[in-house]
Symmetry: C2
Subunit: 216 residues, 2 copies
C-alpha cells in the first residue's frame, strides 16, 4: 500500500516524509497550497478538521498530526528500515520525552522566528523586533540545554538516532537559511553543531531536500 | 518500585497521577511550589533542565514531560489496569493523533484563559480582554470539532477511554471552576458535555481530586 501524504512542502510534512524514507515505506504526495487556502476547502477539512498540514491516507486509514504519524509508522514497521523508537521501554520513554521537548520547548519559539523572518508577507505579519528578541532568547535557552545533553549523549534520547532527532530536522533547516541570519545559534554550540551535521547529512534528509528543495 | 512524582498539584502532574491510578501503579509525591520558585533550584534543574513540572523518578530512571510519562506507563504496564493505548496499531495511531490535538490545539488557548482568569496575580499578568476573547474563540472552534467527533464516537480515539481522553481532564477541570465563568463552553455542546461527565466521573479522577483538591 502506497502512503499518500498531503502537504509535503511544509516543515511538518517533511518530518513525515523523512520518517517514511527512513522506514523504507513507499509514498506519493498531494500538494496542498497554504497560501491559496487549499487547506480550508470543505474536502480538505473532511480529512483534517483544523485545516492544518500534513495528513496521510493509507488505504482507508486517515491520520493527521505529524508527530502522531511518525510514531505510527515507526511502530507499525518496527523491524523494517531504521529503528526509530528505542530498543527498550526505557529508551522509548526518553524518545517520547525529547519528542515532547521538541514540540513544546523547541518548536514554538523557532516557528515564530521563521514566520516573522522568512515569511512575514505570506503570513501578513509585521516583523516585530521585541517578539523576535524574546523568541531568540527562548530558543537560545533551549539550545543551551541541548548543548549540555549532547555533550553527554550522541543523540537526544541516547546513543542512537531516533524520532526525537528526526523531528527537529525540518525546522532547524529553516534556521540555517542564510537570510534568517541565525546560523550562529547552531554553529556557536559545539555539540549541537556536530549533531546537526550528523542528522542533516542522513540520506533520508538529503532525499527530502532533493524532492522538496528548502529555501536558500 | 514506588514511582516518585514531583509536582502533583499542577494540571500536568494530575495528568500523570490519573494515569498511574488507572494503571494501578503505586506512587508517592514530592511537592514543588512554583510560586516559591522551587522549580528553579539547582537540584530541581538537574532533574528537569527547563524548570517545569512534573518529573517522575522510578528507581534510577528519571522522566519528564507529562505526555511522555503517561505513554511510558501505559506501555510499560500494558496488561495491567485500564488499557489506555488502543488494542491495535491503527487504534493507537488515533490515540496519538488526539493526544497531539490536545497538546497543540486544545491546551494552548485553554492554558492562556486559565492563567489570565484564574491566576493573574500569581503569574503577574494583567487580564487582557482582547487576548481572552481571542483564546475563547480558538477554544470554541476546537470544541466544535470535538462536538462533531464525539457525535460519531464515544471517546476521542474510538469506542474506549484512552490516554487521549485522560490527557484532557485536568485542564477541563479548570475550565469548569465557577469563577472562570466558562462552564457553558462544555455544557452548550451536548456530546462534549456527556463526554466530560463520563471521563470526569471515573474513579481515577475522583481520587485525584480527593488527594489534590481542585479550585472551586
Amino acid at each position: 500500500m502506497v502512503v499518500k501524504v498531503y502537504g509535503p512542502d511544509c516543515g511538518s510534512g517533511k518530518r513525515v516524509i523523512a520518517c517514511l524514507i527512513e522506514k523504507g515505506i513507499e509514498f506519493e504526495v498531494v500538494d496542498v497550497d497554504l497560501f491559496k487556502g487549499e487547506n480550508k476547502t470543505p474536502e480538505y477539512l473532511k480529512l483534517q478538521p483544523f485545516g492544518v498540514l500534513p495528513v496521510i491516507q493509507d488505504g482507508d486509514y486517515t491520520l493527521y498530526e505529524s508527530r502522531a504519524i511518525i510514531r505510527y509508522y515507526a511502530e507499525k514497521y518496527k523491524s523494517q528500515g531504521t529503528e526509530l523508537l528505542g530498543k527498550t521501554i526505557d529508551e522509548k520513554g526518553l524518545v517520547e520525552q525529547w519528542l515532547e521537548v521538541e514540540a513544546h520547548n523547541f518548536q514554538p519559539p523557532l516557528y515564530d522566528l521563521v514566520v516573522r523572518l522568512l515569511f512575514p508577507s505570506e503570513f501578513g505579519i509585521t516583523p516585530d523586533p521585541k517578539s523576535i528578541k524574546e523568541n531568540e532568547e527562548k530558543l537560545a535557552h533551549v539550545l543551551d540545554v541541548y548543548e549540555d545533553r549532547l555533550s553527554k549523549s550522541k543523540y537526544l534520547a541516547g546513543d542512537t538516532f531516533s524520532l526525537a532527532d528526526l523531528s527537529h530536522i525540518p525546522f532547524i533547516q529553516y534556521l540555517m537559511v542564510k537570510r534568517m541570519g541565525k546560523e550562529y545559534m547552531i554553529r556557536d554550540r559545539k555539540h549541537v553543531s556536530t549533531w546537526w551535521d550528523d542528522i542533516s547529512n542522513r540520506p533520508s534528509w538529503k532525499k527530502v531536500l532533493q524532492l522538496y528543495p528548502a529555501l536558500v
